[in-house]
């Protein structure tokens, strides 16, 4: 028979517009095919440095996010009670009038009455600048409840961390070890990297309680007990040190391992010895005297000892040997706690040793280090690591992250070929970052940036009376090094009036009334709670989002954002750029289609509101608006002279990094596919913290103004300074109830302790986790007609041990309790799971009425949140104090310390998971009955 004629050459669209994806935070380049002004197809941009043409499930489903029925349509003011979802659409002018009527008086009297926090924000250098101009100290993005431990642990230890700070040397690594990672981060680069190293024949090792996703393809899986990663890592350190499988040359030349520690009793004990200029001292082997670490001809002695009067100052490395060679870290000792048999721990350590030292890589590239010494080669130890929230979202997470970096450094695999490489603007040590600022002046800006890195008690954000300056209590004795703030404490503290009451809570893109809060039902009550006068305890709430999330119902005023295809954005070197290890790069979003609703990009709304409030920087001398919109800001704002949000095509169009604002800059970005890239010279691509080739290149690009080489700090001086304060030294003293905790946990060398102890009392002995699937991003995926068909339900997965012990069968339900709450949920069996861990997908469950879903959507009936079981505070200890469920060092929300009990229960009569938190009216109606989304 004859075959039918078919059209083999359809055109996907009539134009391709290249912009940046925002289906998650990974910022891939996309080609948006547009047909008659409508989005017809989205695929990856082959030229883009992040994704090189590929695109994940979320990105490829972007068209369904762009057309989602949950999109907000116009500004709204609340007309029903908080939580009801009853709104009335208003004009932008009225919306700004309402906002100004709340914000103007508090700015004039006490700007700290505004708490402005942003969620999945990629414009923090801008939003923080706005908050600074307003004058409130109460600003942060969501890092505190996300992964601050990873970021801060890395920056304090080695001047950078994983993901956007750095990446494995995918082309050269031969052993890749992945510790607990949310499967949607760093979405495409990790998948591309795993594919690449597998094709190269390298080994992939996964350390994760759950064998899904990346761990499913790992050649070796270590199904660790949650929260014990630090213990496993320190055992690996023990094995490697004991075997001498460490890179002594690297430790000697590029780290503080040879730095001498003050042995004299008193307020300096345990701090690195320094000369009068603040340079750390090492013991010089050749001259047998203490000398500056960076002297040209110094020969640092890892085992140096300086007999100084009646004390002997010894090195950091000496302290490490004393600590980590202790049998407390032997594999046999840690096997039970970690759930990994001792022989497997040894096997992993031996494999690290074998690859690091028997498969050494040498590149013939000349370079010069910061001591002025020339090297003819670049030597690499091809073992690379990656980790994220799995190890950081524990109360011991900061020290665990530091332990992992210490392991990397011990084998000389940071910034060396085959190991882990920084991406510009990193390397950048904690000392090169700002310190937190909190000085409030009515009617005036804050005295500096809100967030930063503290280096001792003197940097804490405390008022003169010692009380917390910030509503979230970041940078206080409860969590001194909370570099990203503590968004998860804002609502709880504002409701409690602890440390003080606020007037207006202003949130952007953060679903705090649902999946982004611990203690979800409690948070919903706090948001709608009234005082004795019948007024809301939190008087005003402004919220901006593009979609009808659960949080919308709790706001008094809604500023509707655009979708990611309708907006300007800059993915900037000033905050979270898209750099690669071999290049600096930044990117833009631009409106590839125009909105069909009365919505404005949030940053544009903030600019317009800033002008209306007359904030400095947002108005000209005559009081008129300085910027028309965010696009104008992106091009014309200068943070320092010649340095602005975007690095590409500055000045007359041929300058990169530094140069005057160029009015045609955005056109040039669009012509180039939405991004700019500047390659790092070959001789500067490794050893960046110490490589003068890199340092000079970075100065040229404007990353910093003079070369800033540094050595890695295995010994944390800031941690020790807080310990010293807790020991009673110094003018700023912690409250007595925190002294012992600070002494125990602020060890200047990485340690491990069981952070789940408080949670586990009373027989709660099963760890419960969530993870994010690769095909969803937080709660966003649910409004996406395609993605929600992939992950529309989230059973609680149980390991064989628990499944058989409780005689569970397919289709069963369980009642799960924690010290804080109870949920009733469907269960499923998963053998490839740590024997004492249960888990589910994060943020699948939805509240009835949200996200424009129908009431019978499986997310509403079968989906659920684990958040109901997790409190933002620890169980009461009987001392009347509110102890936050956070890392005592950084304040990172300890999501993964949750402990539960499980029992089999009958399926609820209505077939719906419990608790049922009721219905909210959808301000946007519900989606259509059928989709046939062909764009013509």
């Amino acid at each position: 028979m004859t075959q039918p004629e078919i059209d083999l050459h359809p055109r996907p669209g009539d134009a391709i517009r290249k912009t940046t994806c925002y289906m998650c935070a990974c910022r891939c380049g996309i080609d948006v095919h547009v047909k008659n002004g409508k989005v017809a197809y989205i695929e990856g941009n082959r030229d883009h440095p992040v994704n090189q043409g590929v695109l994940c499930a979320k990105g490829s489903a972007g068209i369904m996010q762009h057309n989602a029925p949950s999109r907000l349509r116009a500004p709204m003011k609340r007309v029903g009670p908080r939580g009801s979802g009853e709104f009335e659409e208003i004009s932008w002018d009225e919306a700004y009038d309402i906002a100004a009527s709340w914000l103007t008086p508090i700015r004039e009297t006490d700007p700290s009455k505004l708490a402005f926090f942003t969620g999945r924000d990629q414009s923090q250098s801008f939003t923080s600048w706005w908050a600074q101009a307003f004058g409130t100290p109460n600003y942060a993005a969501h890092g505190g409840f996300c992964s601050v431990n990873m970021a801060a642990g890395g920056i304090y230890t080695m001047g950078g961390a994983f993901w956007e700070f750095g990446q494995p040397d995918w082309d050269r690594t031969k052993l890749f070890i992945l510790f607990g990672v949310a499967e949607d981060h760093d979405s495409n680069p990790i998948k591309m990297g795993i594919g690449k190293i597998k094709a190269n024949g390298a080994r992939v090792v996964g350390v994760n309680p759950i064998r899904s996703g990346y761990n499913a393809v790992a050649d070796d899986w270590f199904g660790i007990t949650p929260g014990t990663d630090g213990l496993l890592i320190l055992s690996l350190v023990h094995c490697l040190m004991k075997a001498g499988k460490i890179d002594l040359e690297y430790l000697r030349d590029f780290t503080d391992a040879p730095v001498l520690i003050d042995a004299r009793e008193g307020p300096g004990q345990g701090l690195p010895l320094k000369d009068d200029d603040g340079h750390a001292l090492v013991w010089c082997r050749r001259e047998q005297r203490p000398r500056c670490f960076d002297a040209e001809d110094v020969d640092p002695d890892l085992n140096g000892a300086w007999l100084d009067g009646d004390v002997t100052h010894r090195t950091v490395f000496h302290a490490m040997a004393q600590k980590y060679l202790d049998p407390a870290y032997a594999p046999e000792t840690v096997a039970e706690a970690t759930g990994i048999p001792a022989p497997r721990i040894r096997a992993l350590a031996a494999e690290i040793a074998r690859v690091a030292f028997d498969e050494e890589i040498v590149l013939d590239r000349e370079w010069t280090d910061f001591r002025g010494r020339k090297h003819t080669t670049m030597k690499g130890r091809p073992v690379s690591f990656h980790a994220m929230r799995g190890i950081s979202a524990h109360a011991n997470g900061f020290q665990t992250c530091r332990a992992l970096h210490m392991l990397q450094i011990l084998i000389g695999s940071v910034e060396t070929p085959g190991g882990f490489r920084f991406k510009p603007p990193y390397p950048k040590p904690a000392t090169a970052h700002p310190k937190p600022h909190c000085k409030v002046t009515p009617g005036a800006p804050l005295d500096g940036p809100h967030l930063g890195f503290v280096h001792g008690p003197e940097d804490l954000a405390l008022k003169d009376d010692g009380s917390p300056a910030r509503i979230d209590k970041a940078f206080t004795w409860e969590n001194p090094m909370s570099a990203h703030g503590m968004m998860h404490m804002v609502i709880s503290n504002a409701h409690a009036g602890d440390p003080y009451k606020i007037d207006t809570l202003f949130l952007y893109m953060a679903n705090m009334a649902w999946n982004s809060s611990m203690n979800t039902s409690g948070t919903m009550k706090m948001l709608s709670d009234k005082d004795a006068n019948g007024d809301y305890v939190i008087p005003h709430i402004i919220y901006s989002d593009a979609y009808s999330s659960e949080m919308v119902a709790y706001a008094d005023l809604i500023l509707p954002d655009t979708t990611y295809l309708e907006r300007h954005d800059c993915i900037s070197l000033l905050d979270r750029p898209i750099c690669e290890a071999e290049a600096a790069a930044d990117a833009i979003r631009w409106p590839v289609v125009e909105p069909d609703r009365d919505v404005r990009g949030f940053q544009t709304a903030l600019i317009q509101l800033g002008a209306k409030l007359g904030l400095p920087g947002f108005v000209k001398d005559d009081g008129s608006a300085k910027f028309t919109d965010y696009a104008d800001y992106m091009v014309s704002h200068e943070r320092r002279p010649g340095v602005g949000p975007l690095m590409g095509w500055r000045g007359n169009g041929d300058e990169t990094g530094r140069g005057a604002p160029n009015p045609n800059q955005l056109d040039r970005y669009i012509e180039n596919g939405g991004f700019a890239i500047s390659h790092i010279p070959d001789e500067a691509q490794f050893y960046k913290p110490w490589n003068m080739g890199y340092q000079n290149w970075a100065v040229g690009l404007g990353l910093y103004d003079k070369p800033a080489p540094y050595i890695f700090t295995l010994w944390s001086e800031p941690l020790r300074k807080f310990q010293i304060a807790a020991e009673g030294h110094g003018p700023r003293q912690p409250p007595d109830h925190l002294r012992d905790r600070i002494k125990a946990t602020f060890d200047p060398l990485p340690i491990w302790w069981d952070a789940t102890e408080t949670h586990g009392q009373g027989g709660y002995d099963i760890t419960a986790l969530t993870q994010r699937p690769m095909a969803m991003y937080h709660s966003w995926g649910t409004q996406n007609a395609w993605l929600r068909q992939i992950h529309g339900e989230n059973p609680l997965y149980l390991p064989t041990e628990i499944w058989t012990e409780h005689l569970f069968e397919e289709g069963d339900w369980a009642q799960v309790t924690s010290p804080h709450g109870e949920i009733t949920v469907p269960v499923a069996h998963m053998p490839a799971l740590n024997a004492n861990t249960v888990w589910t997908w994060n943020a699948i469950g939805k509240r009835k009425g949200a996200w424009a879903l129908q009431d019978d959507a499986p997310e509403v009936t079968k989906g659920f949140l684990l958040n109901h079981l997790i409190h933002e505070l620890l169980p009461p200890k009987g001392d009347g104090l509110r102890w936050s469920n956070s890392d005592p060092i950084t304040g990172q929300a300890a999501w993964f310390d949750l402990k539960v009990k499980i029992r089999k229960t009958a399926a609820p009569a209505d077939g719906t998971t419990k608790p049922d938190l009721g219905h909210q009216t959808s301000p946007v109606g519900h989606g259509p009955a059928v989709l046939k989304w062909e764009v013509t």
């Binding site: 359809p10 994704n51 899986w221 259509p928």
Partner: protein
């Protein structure tokens, strides 16, 4: 009944690497996007914001595997039409709508001739066909026949949408009739397999099996006989001895 061609000039198909597929579903939505917009009726979704039942040409399944020895595993298994040489879905078709192309072996449905009877879906042992409820016609993987020859696409993009988008590089496209093609060589070196060969369908698509897992078990690691043991031979048992070793080692640097 519809007949199959005696032979095809090429055997275009996919080689899917189960060792590398992380189960991310990128191929699923890239496929849905392209094929909603292109070949035939759009892939519809019924009750898309409620109980949701949509048409997909490619789906990922996840399996738990419990070997007799060793740790349990998770295997992600992408599944779409395998473009069989002996395609039972074609021979069963009462209208001739299902057919296998002579030039490249791609199995297609001529939607103009399809009456939506569903016999082909019953005949397919892989469950790789889905009836589109809105259009009432049978849908299946077209191997992006409207991409792979498409002169309106850049040459490098003339491959199926699922292959172009796969972040891990787990999907490969090519001519499996040509033993020298990259896909044929991949099948040869990685011992690629047919899915359910006992069905006698002679699928063109091949799967590359996962590599052996969890070899770092080393239960015998206690003894010196283990090949990795020398890498951890202690330089000293105590910190004091270790620091002595350190001095000697530093001398040698």
């Amino acid at each position: 009944m519809t007949s199959l061609p005696a032979s095809t000039d090429k055997k275009l198909g996919l080689v899917i690497d189960l060792d590398t597929c992380v189960g991310c579903h990128a191929c699923v939505t890239a496929c849905k996007g392209w094929n909603t917009q292109n070949y035939g009726a759009p892939l519809s979704d019924i009750d898309p914001y409620g109980a949701a039942e949509g048409t997909f040409l490619n789906r990922i399944h996840a399996f738990q595997v419990e070997p007799d020895q060793g740790l349990a595993q998770t295997i992600h298994f992408p599944k779409s039409c395998l473009h069989c040489d002996d395609a039972p879905c074609v021979t069963v078709c009462p209208t001739g709508a299902s057919y296998k192309r002579v030039e490249d072996g791609i199995v297609l449905v001529n939607e103009d001739a399809c009456m939506g009877c569903g016999l082909c879906a019953w005949a397919c042992p892989y469950g790789a066909r889905e009836i589109d409820q809105a259009a009432g016609v049978m849908k299946k993987c077209t191997l992006c026949v409207d991409r792979i020859y498409n002169e309106n696409l850049p040459e490098e993009d003339r491959e199926p949408a699922c292959v172009r988008t796969c972040p891990a590089g787990a999907r490969h496209f090519g001519d499996l009739a040509d033993p020298e093609s990259a896909v044929s060589r991949l099948v040869a070196t990685r011992d690629g397999v047919d899915l359910m060969p006992e069905q006698g369908t002679r699928p063109v698509n091949k799967y590359l099996p996962p590599r052996v897992k969890d070899s770092l078990q080393a239960p015998e690691m206690e003894g010196a006989e283990d090949i990795l043991a020398p890498f951890l031979a202690p330089v000293a048992e105590e910190p004091k001895g270790f620091l002595k070793w350190l001095d000697t080692a530093l001398e040698k640097l």
